[in-house]
C-alpha cells in the first residue's frame, strides 16, 4: 500500500466540490426514435463512412436482430424498448473545429462545470482530453504534442476516415460483433468514441482521457473505444462519465477494445458516475458495457474502475492473456445505494505460459441496492504456471441491501496457482461512535471508512482521478444512513 506522504496530504487538502446536477442547453440534432437497417445506414452516412464500415455495421445489426437480451445477470429491470430510443444525437455544430475559440460557449461552460478545463491548465497536469458529449467528440486537445511522437488520439469517427487501415485491422477483433447482445447493438449503431494508437516503443507522455456525457433525453449512447499499444509502448487512459438527472431510464451500451502487443502496457481507468436514478429507484442509466483487452507476449493490461453511478450496471472488463508472461489486473470499487443494481467483475483468460492475473474487487452496498461480483478465472490446458490472485471484499450498510459473489474458476492445467479470498463486513457502531466522538459526523465517517475500505483500488488511480473518485464515493453514499 502506498505511503501517505506529505504531498498527498497537500493534494488532498486542495480538493474541491464536485457537482453534476445540471443540464446544458445545446441544440441537438437528434434522429427519430427506432432502429432498422435504414437507421444504421443513416448513421453511417451521416458520418460519411466508407463502405466497409457501413457493411460492418449492417452485419452487426443483422446479428443483433437475431439475438436475445441476456438475463443471467443478478439484476432486475424493465428491458429497454429498443424502438423507443433515438440512436443518434449530436450537438448541432457540424463543422470541424481547429481551436477552442470556435467551440460553443455553452459547451465550454459545461466542460467547466464538469471540472474539465481543456486549456493550458490541463497541459500542466498532463492530461489530453477527448470529449464525447452525447454522441460526437467535440474537441480533442493536445493533438500536436501527441503527433510529434506519432501517437494517434482522436474520435473514432475521424480515425475511420484518417487511419482506416488501423481501424479495419483491429476493430471487432477483441469484441466481435457476435460477442453478445449489447456488443452487437453497439457495433451496429455506435456513434463515436475514442481511438488511440501508441507506436512502437513510445511511452505516452501524458494521461489520455475521454469524458462521456449523456445530455439529450430519450437517446442511447453507444461509444466505441479502441486502444492499440504497439510493441514496447505504454499508455495510461482515463475515462469519466456523467449524465444529468432524468426520470426516464437511458441506455448506455459501450464497447472498449484494448490491444497490448508484445511488451506493451495499457492502464485503463474509469470513473463511472452516470445518473443512478432517484431515491425511489426511478430513472437512471442502464449501463451495459463490454470491455476486453488482449495481451501479447510480456504485455500488461490493468483495468481500474470506480463505479458509483447507473441504475443497472452490467460490466466485466476482461483480459485475454494470450502471450507468454503477460499480466492482467482488475481493480474495482462498485458502490450501490438506494435501488441501484450492479453485476460487475472480470474475466481473466489465461492462454499463455507464466501468465499472471490479479483481481481486487471492493463492493459497497447501501440502501436497498444489490451488488454482485461475478468473476471468471480460466486457465487453458496449454497455459503452464499460470497464477491468479483474487480478493473480493464486500462492505454492507444497513440490512436491506445485498452483496453477492459469484467466482468461477475453470482450471485445465494443474501447474496453475489460484488463490481466492473473500470477506464481508459491516460498518460497526463502535467505529461510527469513535469517529463521532472525534467530531466527524456519521455521513462523513462512512465516507472515511468506505474510502479506507477502497484504498487498495483508489491507490491504483492516477492522482488527479483518485481525489475526484474519493469525493464521488462520498457523494454517492449521501443519505445512506438513518
Amino acid at each position: 500500500m502506498n505511503k501517505f506522504t506529505e504531498d498527498d496530504l497537500k493534494k488532498e487538502l486542495e480538493t474541491k466540490e464536485y457537482e453534476y446536477g445540471f443540464y446544458t442547453d445545446i441544440e441537438a440534432d437528434k434522429f427519430p426514435v427506432g432502429l432498422s437497417e435504414e437507421v444504421v445506414i443513416a448513421i453511417s452516412k451521416k458520418k460519411n463512412e466508407p463502405d466497409w464500415m457501413t457493411k460492418w455495421r449492417l452485419e452487426a445489426f443483422k446479428v443483433w436482430s437475431e439475438m436475445k437480451e441476456p438475463d443471467w445477470a443478478n439484476v432486475n429491470y424493465e428491458k429497454p424498448k429498443f424502438q423507443d430510443i433515438s440512436y443518434y444525437s449530436a450537438p448541432v455544430q457540424k463543422k470541424k473545429l481547429d481551436s477552442l475559440d470556435e467551440v460553443d460557449p455553452e459547451l465550454l461552460k459545461t466542460f467547466e462545470k464538469l471540472g474539465i478545463s481543456i486549456d493550458e491548465q490541463k497541459r500542466l497536469s498532463n492530461v489530453a482530453v477527448d470529449i464525447v458529449i452525447d454522441s460526437v467528440s467535440v474537441a480533442t486537445t493536445f493533438k500536436k504534442t501527441l503527433n510529434e511522437r506519432g501517437i494517434i488520439f482522436m474520435p473514432i469517427s475521424e480515425a475511420i476516415q484518417e487511419h482506416p487501415e488501423l481501424v479495419k485491422k483491429y476493430l471487432g477483433t477483441i469484441v466481435p460483433t457476435t460477442d453478445n447482445f449489447y456488443a452487437a447493438l453497439n457495433s451496429a449503431v455506435f456513434s463515436d468514441g475514442s481511438f488511440c494508437y501508441i507506436p512502437k516503443g513510445v511511452t505516452c507522455p501524458m494521461e489520455l482521457s475521454t469524458y462521456f456525457r449523456i445530455n439529450e433525453g430519450g437517446t442511447g449512447q453507444f461509444e466505441r473505444t479502441l486502444v492499440i499499444a504497439d510493441k514496447g509502448s505504454y499508455v495510461s487512459y482515463l475515462e469519466g462519465c456523467t449524465a444529468p438527472a432524468r426520470d426516464e431510464n437511458q441506455l448506455h451500451a459501450a464497447v472498449v477494445e484494448l490491444i497490448a502487443l508484445d511488451d506493451a502496457e495499457i492502464k485503463y481507468s474509469t470513473v463511472q458516475n452516470w445518473f443512478p436514478g432517484n431515491k425511489e429507484g426511478k430513472g437512471g442509466i442502464y449501463n451495459f458495457v463490454t470491455k476486453r483487452g488482449l495481451c501479447e507476449k510480456n504485455a500488461k493490461i490493468s483495468w481500474t474502475q470506480v463505479e458509483t453511478g447507473s441504475a443497472v450496471t452490467w460490466k466485466y472488463p476482461s483480459c485475454i492473456l494470450k502471450g507468454d508472461n503477460s499480466v492482467g489486473e482488475f481493480y474495482s470499487i462498485a458502490v450501490t445505494n438506494n435501488f441501484q443494481q450492479a453485476d460487475t467483475g472480470t474475466k481473466m483468460i489465461h492462454l499463455g505460459n507464466n501468465t499472471r492475473s490479479t483481481i481486487i474487487s471492493k463492493g459497497v452496498s447501501a440502501g436497498k441496492s444489490q451488488n454482485s461480483y461475478r468473476g471468471l478465472v480460466q486457465i487453458s490446458p496449454r497455459a503452464k504456471n499460470a497464477r491468479n490472485f483474487s480478493q473480493c471484499d464486500s462492505l454492507l450498510m444497513g440490512d436491506q441491501c445485498g452483496a453477492h459473489t459469484f467466482p468461477y474458476i475453470e482450471c485445465k492445467n494443474n501447474s496453475a496457482q489460484i488463490e481466492h479470498e473473500a470477506t464481508t463486513s459491516k460498518i460497526g457502531e463502535d467505529q461510527l461512535f469513535y469517529c463521532n466522538q472525534r467530531g466527524i459526523d456519521t455521513e462523513k465517517a462512512i465516507a472515511l471508512i468506505v474510502n479506507g475500505f477502497s484504498k487498495e483500488v483508489l491507490n491504483k488511480l492516477p492522482m488527479e482521478f483518485a481525489v475526484e473518485a474519493q469525493k464521488l464515493l462520498e457523494i454517492s453514499l449521501e443519505g445512506s444512513v438513518g
Binding site: L9, E12, N436, R438, D441
Partner: protein, 245 residues
C-alpha cells in the same frame, strides 16, 4: 465547567449509573477510580454522547448548557474528548487522514476554514514529537495492528491535536509500559492549562504520580461513594475497595 447532576443511565432495562453528581472546574484534574463494572466507562460514554445508553434522569452541563440533546460530534466540537479504553481500528484510513478530518470538521463547526496543509503538517510534527511518537504510525491505518500501548499513545496524540476543553482518559495507562507512561503523562501535563480540565479513569496509583489529581472519586455500583484529595488514591492502593462498599 462540567456539571453532572443526579445522572441516571442504563441500557435496556439495566441501570448502570444511579445518580451521579460531579462538578469539574477549569484547570482541575479529577481521578475516577472504582472496581470493574462500577460504571466508569459508561459514565464517559454518556458524557461523550454514546446513544447506546439511555439517560433516564438528571443532566450533564458544559458551561451551564445541557449536553444531552447534542449529538456526539457536536459535543466533540464543543471540546469534549474521550480517550477510549478500547480504541477501534479503521482499516485503510491513515492516522494522518483521520486526525486531519477530525480537526477540519471541528473547525468547520466553529466557523473556521480548513487548516492549511502547511500548518496541519507543522502541528502533526509538533504533537507527534511531544508524544515521542514514531512518525511511521501516522501513515499506518488507524489503530490497525497497533499494540495496546501504541493505541493508547495514539489516543493522546489525537487529544494533543484537538486540544479539548474537557478530556476524559479512560484507562489510558493500561497497556503502556513504564517509559511510555511517563511520556504520555508528560504529554497530558503539557497540555493542561487553566482553561481546560482532565478526568483520569484508572485502577492504579502509578499514573497519578505523574498526572497529579486535585480530586479523587470512587465509583461503585454507578454512584460516587467517596471523594477526596490525591491521598485517597494512596489509601485505595493500600486498602482496596471493600471498606467503601
Amino acid at each position: 465547567m462540567l456539571e453532572i447532576k443526579n445522572l441516571h443511565a442504563g441500557i435496556d432495562d439495566k441501570n448502570i449509573l444511579n445518580g451521579i453528581n460531579l462538578s469539574i472546574n477549569a484547570g482541575e484534574v479529577h481521578a475516577i477510580m472504582g472496581p470493574n463494572g462500577s460504571g466508569k466507562s459508561t459514565l464517559s460514554s454518556v458524557i461523550a454522547g454514546n446513544e447506546t445508553y439511555e439517560v433516564t434522569e438528571g443532566d450533564v452541563l458544559l458551561d451551564n448548557k445541557s449536553l444531552l440533546e447534542l449529538a456526539p460530534e457536536e459535543r466533540a466540537h464543543k471540546g469534549i474528548f474521550l480517550s477510549f479504553q478500547y480504541p477501534v481500528e479503521i482499516p485503510g484510513v491513515t492516522t494522518t487522514n483521520f486526525i486531519k478530518t477530525a480537526i477540519n470538521e471541528k473547525r468547520k463547526a466553529n466557523g473556521l476554514e480548513d487548516l492549511p496543509a502547511k500548518d496541519m503538517l507543522k502541528l502533526i510534527r509538533e504533537k507527534s514529537e511531544l508524544l515521542e511518537m514514531d512518525r511511521k504510525f501516522l501513515s499506518r491505518s488507524l489503530n490497525e495492528g497497533f499494540s495496546g500501548g501504541e493505541k493508547k499513545r495514539n489516543e493522546i496524540f489525537q487529544m494533543a491535536m484537538l486540544e479539548p476543553k474537557l478530556a476524559i482518559l479512560d484507562e489510558t495507562d493500561s497497556g503502556l509500559d513504564i517509559d511510555a507512561l511517563k511520556v504520555v503523562a508528560n504529554g497530558v501535563n503539557k497540555l493542561r492549562s487553566k482553561d481546560n480540565a482532565v478526568v483520569v479513569i484508572t485502577h492504579y496509583q502509578r499514573l497519578l504520580d505523574y498526572i497529579v489529581p486535585d480530586f479523587v472519586h470512587v465509583l461503585h455500583n454507578g454512584k460516587i461513594v467517596k471523594s477526596g484529595g490525591k491521598e485517597l488514591a494512596l489509601e485505595l492502593e493500600k486498602k482496596g475497595y471493600d471498606w467503601l462498599k
